[in-house]
């Protein structure tokens, strides 16, 4: 596949006090691919996510979405451009139901402020609201949460919360989905289901960038794998290339020398 990448990070640096969380990381995510970001704990994966999605401004470097420079832009603007994320620690609106969470997720693709709220027809959903309702039902079914529409998000099991977060992200019609450890804390069966879901999403044209520690899943579903260690990108390639990379093995398993 050719053309410009959907998302590009150019020479990104992020320094916290005296500590460099990511150092000179460049990354390009191809449209239509599943791109995995792996690395030991503390390698800078989540920091890179935060910098890309506007949660943290980079110290240096640039972030481009579809060729447009969005470095330092607020998260809501990045979302409107079609780049939506989930969180490693799951951030749902926990006192709302699953269905309400997904409807809120549609916020940036709908219109209306205080004035239009005042002018609504009481006791009746508008055409747009009815459509949003239906879309939320579809998305919940898509991630496997049918029948749980009216459960409070905070009462769902962890695996379901992660699914709901994906459904909420999908509600904004993203082109790129950033998933921060989407299968952490899941059982092997749930991991398999999630893998199928991610593939299905890619086949529907949604590009995915994910961080994950679950190696067999990463190797199974990814088209490209980038490896971070101590904030630096040390390798990139297909799963097979990365698996046989010496530096990667050392990062995960240590060197062969006895100290």
């Amino acid at each position: 596949m050719s053309g410009e990448p959907l998302l590009e990070g150019r020479a990104l640096h992020k320094v916290f006090g005296g500590y460099s969380a990511i150092v000179d990381v460049s990354i390009a995510v191809r449209r239509g691919s599943i791109h995995a970001l792996i690395g030991p704990n503390g390698a800078g994966k989540t920091t890179l996510f935060n910098v890309i999605t506007g949660v943290l401004p980079p110290t240096r470097g640039a972030v481009l979405v579809k060729g447009e420079d969005v470095t330092g832009a607020r998260p809501d603007r990045i979302t409107r451009l079609g780049v939506v994320r989930t969180f490693q620690s799951v951030r749902l609106f926990s006192s709302m139901t699953a269905h309400e969470n997904v409807r809120v997720g549609r916020h940036c693709r709908s219109r209306g402020g205080f004035a239009s709220a005042l002018l609504r027809v009481p006791f009746r959903a508008s055409a747009a609201e009815a459509a949003a309702h239906k879309r939320a039902d579809e998305l919940l079914a898509q991630v496997g949460l049918q029948g749980k529409q009216n459960v409070r998000a905070g009462d769902l099991a962890l695996a379901d919360q992660r699914r709901l977060e994906i459904a909420r992200a999908l509600a904004s019609d993203p082109e790129l989905l950033l998933l921060d450890e989407p299968v952490a804390g899941m059982t092997p069966v749930e991991v398999q289901e999630s893998g199928r879901l991610l593939r299905a999403l890619r086949d529907r044209g949604i590009t995915i960038l994910l961080t994950e520690h679950h190696m067999s899943l990463v190797m199974e579903i990814s088209d490209t794998v980038s490896v971070l260690n101590f904030g630096c990108k040390i390798a990139e390639g297909t799963p097979a290339e990365v698996r046989s990379n010496r530096q990667v093995l050392e990062a995960y398993l240590g060197t062969g020398e006895v100290v």
């Binding site: 809120v104 219109r111 209306g112 402020g113 205080f114």
Partner: protein, 270 residues
């Protein structure tokens, strides 16, 4: 129909307090706690009363102008207030309320410490009922709207709200300013009912009362906030028989309430 003047005045105060409770409920629904609604009320009261007394402006435009000025000040206060949350925002708004009180204490055109008197009694029961009804209708309409959900989302988790594309700055500023506007309207209604206002009427005590109404009724529901205002206004009146023990009993009732139903009279247990 002739209503007993005492009953009428109690009903008017109830209506004004419903308006004030809604003025706080709106920012609270987005997680913005304010102990400075008395300050916005003062701005609306003094501005509208000055317009009707000194400049002979008709009541309706004067009332709206008072609300608009309060809303504008709310916008200005809102900018720094957006960066802080919870207890720190409460302290900031408290400080704001004090600044407004001291400002009016020293402002000559509105009478300084001796206040404004001779305000025409434009605030009748139908006027108050209409204002309170409008405020409630607005909240009802907001309940299931896009912006209503955005406010809930901001209260629940600001970062997640931004992630779904909600502009935090705009949402928080507009709801804070809207609350200030409604408080300003409440102040204007109050001034044109009591016919005399001085800065002391809008001090911390007033802000705290408004806060208690919302807390009493339930922060998660606008009907709760309105009910809180009604109970807060009527209960002390109904307890007049207790004479000197009235406020003691009222205070005790509040304490018991917070132990038994900390989530308020109406509103979901969170």
């Amino acid at each position: 129909m002739h209503l007993d003047p005492y009953v009428e005045s109690v009903l008017i105060f109830t209506g004004i307090n419903v308006v004030m409770a809604i003025s706080l409920y709106l920012p609270v629904s987005a997680g913005l706690l304010s102990l400075g609604q008395g300050g916005f009320m003062a701005i609306g009261a003094f501005a509208s009363a000055y317009l009707t007394t000194a400049l002979a402006t008709p009541f309706a435009p004067a009332l709206l102008a008072g609300g608009a000025l309060a809303g504008l000040v709310g916008l200005l206060v809102g900018f720094p207030a957006l960066r802080i949350k919870g207890i720190y925002l409460i302290i900031l708004t408290m400080g704001f309320g004090e600044i407004v009180r001291v400002l009016f204490l020293n402002l000559e055109p509105t009478g300084g410490a001796s206040g404004l008197s001779g305000i025409a009694p434009h605030t009748t029961l139908p006027v108050v009922a209409a204002a309170a009804g409008l405020a409630l209708a607005f909240c009802w309409q907001l309940r299931d709207s896009r912006i209503g959900w955005a406010l809930n989302a901001v209260r629940e988790d600001e970062l997640a709200a931004e992630t779904v594309g909600i502009n935090l700055t705009r949402t928080k500023l507009s709801v804070f300013s809207l609350g200030a506007f409604i408080a300003g309207i409440g102040g204007g209604l109050y001034a044109h009912f009591t016919m005399f206002i001085d800065p002391a009427q809008f001090g911390f005590q007033r802000s705290a009362e408004i806060f208690i109404m919302v807390l009493l009724g339930g922060m998660g529901n606008f009907l709760g906030a309105a009910l809180g205002a009604v109970v807060f206004t009527l209960l002390p009146e109904l307890l007049r028989g207790l004479q000197d023990w009235r406020m003691t009993f009222f205070g005790t009732a509040l304490v018991v309430m917070m132990i038994v139903r900390p989530w308020g009279l109406i509103g979901a247990r969170r």
